[in-house]
C-alpha cells in the first residue's frame, strides 16, 4: 500500500522530507552522542533522552548549524596584525519557539593541531553585528564585543558560549544580524622566533571552519521530572 510518508514525517515533527544539496561532515560530538545512545539501547538500561551527558545539559534535540557568512577581507595582514575579518551568520529560524534553548556553543576550528604551526599567538575577537553592511559597498558594522580570547598557537577548535546572544535574538527581540569575527596574529618580538605572520594568516583563511551547536528541550517530550530520581 502507498506508504503514508506525509504522516510519518509529521509524526517525526518534520513538515516535509528535507532535500540537502550535499551532506555536511558529521561533527564528532554528534556522532559520539548518537553512538552512545545506540549502545545504550542495545545494552538495555533505560536512558534519560532529555539529558545530553556528553554536553552536561538537558535537551532532546541537537542541531549543528553551518556558518553561512563570508570573509570581509583576505588581503595581506594589516599593520595592527589583523589576520582576517569574517562575517558569521547562522540561520536560527528553524529553532522552534516551543523548545527551550539549553545550549548555544560556537566552535571556531582554526585547523588541525600540528607541531610546526606553534605560533604566533593569535587573538580572537567576536562581536555582535548591529548594522548590516551594504553588499559590495560597506562591511557589516561590529557592535558589542562579547568574547576576546588569546590563543598561544593558531590551531585546534575554540568554543564560545553564545547562549545569551542567541537568547537575545530568539526571545528578546534583537534581530539576528550575524557575528563579526576578527583574528589578529601577534608578532612576538621577544622570542626572536620570526613566525611568518603572513603564512599564518593565509593558513587560517584556508582552514577556519565555524559552526554553532544548539541544544533545545521540548517540554512536551521532556517533562521537568523526566530525569530519573537517583
Amino acid at each position: 500500500s502507498k506508504f503514508q510518508e506525509y504522516d510519518f514525517l509529521q509524526f517525526l515533527d518534520l513538515e516535509k522530507a528535507p532535500s540537502p544539496r550535499r551532506f555536511q561532515p558529521v561533527p564528532r560530538i554528534l556522532r559520539k552522542i548518537f553512538q552512545a545512545r545506540e549502545a545504550a539501547v542495545a545494552g538495555g538500561p533505560s536512558q534519560d533522552l532529555c539529558y545530553v551527558k556528553e554536553l552536561g545539559v538537558r535537551g532532546n534535540l541537537l542541531r549543528l548549524l553551518p556558518d553561512q557568512g563570508f570573509f570581509l577581507n583576505t588581503q595581506k595582514p594589516s599593520r595592527d596584525g589583523s589576520c582576517l575579518q569574517k562575517y558569521l551568520y547562522f540561520n536560527l529560524s528553524a529553532i522552534q519557539v516551543k523548545g527551550t534553548l539549553t545550549m548555544a556553543r560556537l566552535t571556531l576550528d582554526l585547523g588541525p593541531r600540528s607541531y610546526y604551526n606553534l605560533g604566533p599567538e593569535v587573538e580572537v575577537a567576536l562581536s555582535v553585528v548591529e548594522e548590516h553592511g551594504v553588499w559590495g559597498r560597506s562591511h557589516p558594522k561590529p557592535g558589542r564585543m562579547f568574547a576576546l580570547q588569546s590563543v598561544p598557537g593558531p590551531q585546534g577548535p575554540l568554543h564560545f558560549n553564545l547562549q545569551d546572544v542567541v537568547k537575545d535574538w530568539n526571545s528578546n527581540g534583537l534581530k539576528n544580524l550575524g557575528l563579526y569575527l576578527e583574528i589578529l596574529a601577534k608578532e612576538d618580538r621577544h622570542s626572536g622566533v620570526n613566525f611568518q605572520v603572513e603564512n599564518t594568516c593565509d593558513r587560517l583563511i584556508r582552514s577556519l571552519h565555524a559552526s554553532l551547536l544548539v541544544v533545545t528541550l521540548n517540554p512536551e517530550h521532556c517533562p521537568s521530572s523526566s530525569r530519573k530520581r537517583r
Partner: protein, 114 residues
C-alpha cells in the same frame, strides 16, 4: 487441574512480529545520515487464559482472561507492547543543519497480554 495449553500453534499466540523500515526504501537515505532504518516491530496474537499465566502479563489481563472464560461477552485480554525503547535519528535538513533527534518508545522490544 492444569489448564490445557490451547492446541493452536504458538504462531497464533501473542508475540512480537519484527518489521524493519529501511529508509532507503522511502528515499530517505538522501537526508537521514544514521541509522539506515529502524525496527517497527508490532504485537499480534491471541491471549487465551493460559497465556496470561506465563507470558509476563499484567494482573488485569489475568482477571480479564478469567472473566472472558466465565462469560464470553467480556472481551479477551489483548496483545500489547510491554517493553519499548527509543531511537535516535541523525539527519540533515535542507539548510545544511545536522540534527540529532531522540524519539521515545519507538521500538517494541517485548509483547504481552494486557
Amino acid at each position: 487441574a492444569a489448564i490445557p495449553v490451547p492446541k493452536g500453534s504458538c504462531r497464533n499466540l501473542c508475540h512480537r512480529h519484527q518489521l524493519f523500515i529501511n529508509f532507503r526504501d522511502l528515499g530517505w537515505h538522501k537526508w537521514v545520515i544514521a541509522p539506515k532504518g529502524f525496527m517497527a516491530n508490532y504485537c499480534h496474537g491471541d491471549c487465551p487464559f493460559s497465556m496470561t499465566t506465563y507470558l509476563n502479563s499484567s494482573n488485569y489481563a489475568f482477571m480479564q482472561a478469567l472473566m472472558h472464560a466465565v462469560d464470553p461477552r467480556v472481551p479477551k485480554a489483548v496483545c500489547i507492547p510491554i517493553k519499548l525503547s527509543p531511537i535516535s535519528i541523525l539527519y540533515q535538513d535542507s539548510d545544511g543543519t545536522v540534527i540529532l533527534r531522540h524519539y521515545e518508545d519507538m521500538v517494541v522490544d517485548e509483547c504481552g497480554c494486557g
